[in-house]
């Protein structure tokens, strides 16, 4: 029983990081119907931004370092949209997807060139002391950093939910998702709404990267594997849906962690992708996705 609780806790930490990445996939897909294959690499760059900041400003606490890494990565996301994607918005879908793949490869090699191919870790800025009362209650090892990752991620997701559902900016984002050609006729600058969407998605991915770099490790190619996982999570949950991305992430992380713990680590990816296929056979639009609507 203790080990199950322990594994679920590990899954929650991993799921939180998946969710921070998956939200970006989902949001960008929501507004411009693009699977942004560079998004996993944006997450990776966010992690490295955190690493470089941590090495350069050793005095900087996490609460300052993380927002700074998020800001820098948000600017990167906006720049990518502006330079690479915007002029292709009316082009064939395939051009945009291939461009996204290209941007991803570019980022991987840029980082590899800049900081080298080695696996690095962000010197942890989180207290790794055990949480005594929770340990006593659950009978398993619980450290503050793990709780911090889970709760800060959940707080960011709640904030995002509030922005999307409770503010005019969010109304504009949902309107773009609904019918982006009509949005400008409301006098709203469509490019600005899309840029803000990229900024938010990239910032969340960077938060995931900074956490991941402390809890696990960083390397220039990590965005491929983790990006795919988060993408799967977004699709399982129903791409375009915020709640779906979060649900899919925790579900996928749970399946992965439990597979490694009780079956075999070799089966981890097989089961994750198998789950994707199975769930999509039953729910083609994902667990919380809307059925594809026909638009003329």
């Amino acid at each position: 029983m203790e080990t199950v609780v322990q594994q679920l806790l590990n899954a929650a930490q991993l799921g939180a990081v998946y969710a921070l990445i998956a939200l970006g996939y989902s949001m960008v897909y929501g507004v411009i119907r693009l699977i942004n294959f560079a998004h996993g690499d944006i997450f990776m760059v966010g992690g490295f931004a955190g690493l470089l900041l941590a090495l350069r400003f050793t005095w900087m606490p996490l609460w300052a370092l993380m927002p700074l890494a998020m800001l820098l990565t948000a600017l990167l996301g906006v720049a990518i949209e502006r330079v690479a994607y915007r002029r292709l918005r009316q082009a064939q879908r395939m051009s945009l997807v291939i461009t996204a793949l290209g941007v991803g490869i570019f980022l991987e090699n840029l980082v590899r060139l800049g900081v080298g191919p080695e696996t690095r870790q962000i010197p942890s800025r989180m207290p790794t002391t055990p949480v005594a009362w929770l340990q006593d209650a659950l009978g398993v090892s619980v450290t503050w950093d793990k709780l911090l990752i889970i709760f800060v991620s959940l707080a960011l997701m709640a904030l995002l939910w509030a922005v999307v559902h409770r503010t005019l900016l969010g109304t504009a984002m949902r309107a773009v998702a609904d019918d982006k050609d009509v949005v400008p006729l409301m006098g709203v600058n469509l490019n600005r709404v899309i840029a803000v969407t990229f900024a938010i998605g990239s910032a969340l991915a960077a938060a995931g990267g900074v956490f991941f770099g402390q809890a696990y490790s960083l390397d220039p190619y990590m965005g491929i594997d983790l990006g795919w996982k988060a993408f799967i999570a977004a699709v399982i949950g129903g791409i375009g849906s915020i709640e779906g991305a979060v649900l899919g992430s925790f579900l996928l992380a749970g399946v992965e962690v439990l597979t490694v713990a009780y079956l075999s680590s070799n089966l981890k990816n097989g089961i994750a992708f198998g789950l994707l296929i199975l769930l999509l056979l039953i729910w083609p639009s994902g667990l919380l996705g809307r059925p594809a609507s026909k638009k003329v």
Partner: protein, 258 residues
Amino acid sequence: MEAALKVQGLAKAFGGLTAVSGFDLELGPRDIQGIIGPNGAGKTTVFNLITGIYRPDRGRVSLGNTETTRFGPDAVARAGIARTFQNIRLFAQMSVLDNIRMAFHPGAGYGLWWATFRTARFREEEARILARSLEHLERFGLAGLRDEAAGGLPYGEQRRLEIARALATGPRVLLLDEPAAGMNPREVEELIQLIRKVHQDFPLAILLIEHQMPVVLQLCREIQVLDFGETIARGAPGEVVRDPRVVEAYLGEEEARA
């Protein structure tokens, strides 16, 4: 009297195909004018050119003293031109209220910073827009439907919401693209009343495209007839519909349809 909307020599070709050639229009501040013509005559293209969705090859569009020819669609909307579509285009999955809030949006500061940190000024702005939106819905008899998904409303109500949403942007010129399309005679009658009321209550000019003659005959002071992208007749609706060239353009089409 200065024109609210002035269009001179507007032209657009797609590939080798001329969609509109030399379209002129002068719409007074309180005017109602119409454009009629067979399908494919270029009527909707004219609307797309005026609203900045297409860039014209030649010609000028001015709204009052502002030339909007090169404006993007969002800038045209902010300058004061609003429109509806032949096939209604609401934000179908959003609520009726959110459709209207969206149109009141541009005046609001919607910076990410303010949205995220929900400053006092920001909350005030949102509360103000909510209040205005509700008042606006009330005015169009849609307040009871505020939380319904716009795409789920009956056809007539969707049309009313689309017009209400266009008006929420605060236009000086309202473009209606076949507002009576797909309506039965009773609904057409209601629509005519609605457009009359809109014209009375809001300080604006209306330009409409329509196939249903009752709408054109009862509402428009002047109409022009487009055929193959060219204006073939212009004048008071009662006279224009008897013009032999117009009859030919229309009957030709009716025969082709039959």
